[in-house]
Amino acid sequence: MFSWQTQPLTGLNFLGMVIGAVIVLMVVLVVVMYTIYFERKVIGWMQNRIGPNRVGPFGLLQSAADVFKLLLKEDIVPANADRLMFMIAPIIAFVPSFMVLAVIPYTAAHVFTAGLNVGVLYYIALSSISIVGIVLGGWASNNKYSLVGGLRSAAQMISYEIPLGLSILGVIMLSGSLNLNTIVAHQATDRFGWYIIPQIIGFVVFVIAAIAELNRTPFDLPEAESELVAGYFTEYTGFRFAFYMLSEYVYVFAIASLGTTLFLGGWEGPFLPSWLWFALKTSLFIFFLFWVRATMPRIRIDQLMSFAWKVLIPVALFNILLTGALSLIL
């Protein structure tokens, strides 16, 4: 199989890597734009309305128009905001969401995937850097609402990192390695089938923690429209606002693909080509996120905390205990 490590570091190879990275960036941007479009359509259908259908045929260019609009919009920095922090914050929130995608095995040939041995750890570590970006954004825009929104999201994301990590431990114990490629390979040959079956508790905790990690309903405290008028990015306009929105949706894609890789057997599947399997499973995961958003009301901030610490973490630990015991016996 083609792997970049074996190639000598010549000018040409470096150029190939850069072009590969740019291709992945472009693909993911298009995928994110159509995730936004897909979300607005799905939630529209669930609410007996059509969803965007004006811009382009069937509204397909709607999100492109949105991004273009945000590019053209005037970029306001509030008067006595902390200018430097105000500008850096969205970048800090946006960059990790892209770096995280380097580790996900999209297809069998996984040409553009870094076969890191510590893939899962890499993912978890980078995704928590975004919290810094969000808190900085809340603080720098010098607005009461943003400050409270920023603090809330920091508390939420930190307290949901832990159950997310713990729920993945079960999978690692079964597959024996942190490398996502080997995890997918093991799932193909494992006697119980995909890890969703043996790790059902871990999967449920993973999904709940993933929704909380993304600040999506029912955990969308930070940008609770009805209470804090859009939380930490109240003061952001123009392309900086687009940074935050795109980072949120790239994370939706990233968490969905992580979930597929860990629990639903990644690109593994009988007849269809591997990338199609991956696309199907990821879009199923994403559909579930949107489905939950259309149905659930919001959790209160203190319930959110106690739910993480008193319910999710114990359940995740129990799952690890159970996996350990069973893998000894079976």
Binding site: V42, W45, M46, N48, R49, I50, W291, T295, M296
Partner: protein, 174 residues
């Protein structure tokens, strides 16, 4: 524990239902017969009785008329100020001769305030375009035709009567 699963099933079920969106600018909603849109005015019917101006809660109707040669009142100016008109339809209720009525035009937004002062011509124009102008015309034509037939029928019938009376003249002038 499974309350929210029931909720999820409801939203999923809604996905298959018929969508309700109306493509507004292209597809206009059709309104029932009593819909209260912007006014229309038929000057011939108006007898300048001032009832509408008096009943209007926001007094936005102003009109003037005078008595022409054969003692009949006829209307000169009739203005409605649509800045303060609340489309409450009291004027059409009190109008004895149904000179002021309402059409189903509901798009009243304008770019400048003075477009909101509609005068008699605009209101008559609105009557011709959107009001029941066609039915009234048709009714008038219909009425004219009937009157004509009745007249003709009356003549023929009078003619026959004369013929018969002439015939039976000797039998007393019944």
């Amino acid at each position: 524990m499974f309350g929210f699963l029931k909720g999820l099933s409801v939203t999923f079920g809604q996905m298959t239902k018929k969508k309700l969106t109306l493509q507004y600018p292209e597809v206009k909603p059709e309104w029932p017969e009593r819909f209260r849109g912007i006014h229309q005015f038929i000057p011939e019917h108006c007898i300048v009785c001032n009832q509408c101006a008096r009943i209007c809660p926001t007094s936005c109707i102003s009109l003037s008329g005078n008595r022409d040669e054969n003692k009949k009142m006829h209307i000169d100016t009739y203005d409605i100020n649509f800045e303060i008109c609340i489309l409450c339809d009291l004027c059409t209720e009190v109008c004895p001769t149904e000179a002021i009525l309402m059409t189903d035009q509901f798009e009243l937004a304008t770019y400048s305030r003075d477009e909101l002062y509609k005068d008699i011509h605009w209101l008559y124009e609105n009557h011709v375009k959107h009001g029941n102008y066609q039915q009234l015309q048709a009714a008038k034509v219909q009425a004219a035709k009937e009157a004509e037939e009745k007249a003709k029928a009356a003549e023929t019938e009078k003619a026959t009567v004369e013929a018969s009376t002439a015939g039976s003249d000797k039998g007393g002038d019944a």
